[in-house]
Symmetry: C2
Subunit: 307 residues, 2 copies
């Protein structure tokens, strides 16, 4: 079976760009003139906010889809707009899929076995109905939280085996307080090393044709040393690397997350691309986003010695 992780790797090779654009779109991130053109009477309801966000996502996808292999859609920014936001979420996933992009839904789901099964059906597999079955969301990957241990992960592994989709489990997150729990020592290992080893173990039956498993890890770009160390420790685990751009990391900081061929990771940037128009006032938001995507691609290529 072809895993989505293989397809992601192929798309990264084709674009020469190991990144995803994070569609963490909030109504505050939209240029005022754009917002006014979509909602001339002002955004005074969840419905109007969600409508503006969806249109922005579509315009942004049209502007950068040819340059990138994947997008990451952070569901929190849609849940905050309630049901109308969720409509925009599912439609955004569809629009990205329609442009041949790998879609990672950043949902960080986690629960006990029976409930993890429901989450897995929602994002990696399909939902059984008394008559037939249907997909709830067209995503290729979902992020998951490993705090509940293996039986909260097994249902995802089952859907990975039958649908070829994948997960990225939190190992070392990009936020300032990630060390509060993740860096503590359990015997000779840190918590994140223990979790990293579990993630590697969970992924051993779904290694694709390029040597990377459909069970990946989230490793924050803001902790370069830990990224380098985890890359060596987990040779078959593909990394989703957040923290580039607005969170402070640069190409140099994350090169340790890549293997010796310059593969094995996909780097996310959200705000720096969504709000690129603030940095480039001479451009419209589409041109600005495109310029930032290219700058990020070149920055990473340069750090990897590829240009």
């Amino acid at each position: 079976m072809k895993f989505q992780i293989d397809l992601l790797i192929e798309r990264i090779r084709k674009t020469g760009n190991p990144t995803c654009v994070g569609l963490d779109t909030r109504v505050e991130y939209l240029p005022k003139a754009y917002l006014d053109s979509i909602c001339p009477d002002g955004v005074d309801s969840m419905e109007k906010a969600a409508q503006a966000i969806l249109q922005y996502n579509i315009d942004l996808l049209d502007a950068v889809a040819d340059l990138i292999p994947s997008v990451k859609v952070q569901v929190a920014y849609y849940e905050m707009y309630g049901l109308e936001g969720m409509k925009a979420f599912y439609q955004t996933v569809k629009e990205a899929k329609a442009r041949n992009l790998t879609v990672i839904v950043d949902v960080k789901r986690n629960d006990i076995g029976a409930t993890a099964e429901a989450y897995s059906a929602a994002y990696l597999g399909e939902t059984s109905l008394p008559k037939g079955a249907a997909r709830a969301c067209e995503s290729d990957f979902a992020t998951v939280n490993p705090y509940l241990g293996e039986d909260g992960i097994k249902p995802f592994l089952k859907d990975i085996a039958s649908h070829g989709t994948g997960i990225f489990a939190l190992v070392k997150t990009s936020n300032p307080s990630s060390g509060q729990l993740q860096d503590l020592m359990i015997g000779e290992k840190t918590v994140y090393q223990v979790v990293g080893d579990l993630v590697s173990e969970w992924g051993k039956d779904s290694i694709g044709e390029y040597g990377y498993s459909a069970v990946g890890a989230v490793v924050g770009a803001t902790y370069p040393e830990q990224g380098t160390e985890l890359r060596k420790r987990l040779p078959h685990t593909f990394f989703l690397v957040p923290g580039y751009g607005a969170q402070g990391a640069k190409g140099e900081d994350l090169k340790g997350c890549f293997d010796e061929k310059g593969e094995g990771a996909v780097v996310n940037a959200s705000r720096s691309i969504l709000c690129a128009w603030k940095k480039h006032p001479e451009m419209d938001f589409k041109q600005a986003a495109r310029a930032e995507v290219i700058a990020m691609r070149d920055d990473i290529a340069s750090a990897l010695g590829k240009n």
Copy 2:
């Protein structure tokens, strides 16, 4: 300010019933005759499944609302039905609120600060719009995962302070593999003790009039010794206790989660109530659910020496 945790405690006192009914409703849990009456042509779409689930929730709420202080709505079982499921989710929350029940949304959300802020707006606070603000979901409490440490929790604390809502953070979960990470030793403490102490610290500024904080903990009923130990360790932390019924725990197993007054915890049961009709074939599903709610109430009261 009145905290929702105070209101929950008052509702528990009034009903003499420290439980919540878990609305983890899947279409498979509905009696066939009931499903046929709602969807005579069969359930062949997400829309029909979600419609049947919502109606079941409403009927169940009507059957048991006078006996219980609260419900817990597990969002995974709605996400698996996609956008139609999410419609049923938001409506279920509304229906429960309309019956004066405390609503805990079991979402186990977690992310970095900026994103946790969006989740907090979604479930505990409100969403700012360019003109005005609105609530995305009418919930009183949300469950959260602590793996990212303090800055993933702070946004929730801010909304707790301004809206009086609350959270339950995962400490010791009810599933079989919860010990895989949670029971490991960090120096002299287990991971779950470290997390429990953090939760207690996070909650110290939101202790309500009955001595319990709006920042609570999830402590699984399936680990009685750990529950007893955590109760002593965290005297101001209210516990949400899953694992009763279908997961195997009984009243005796969870009495250690309560304080010496028989307070300080709310026990959830989902499948044993949703599917009570399977156990009581002589009753309709509403009577059966009511019988199970009463049996659970009495079982816990007996374990607490209250009847």
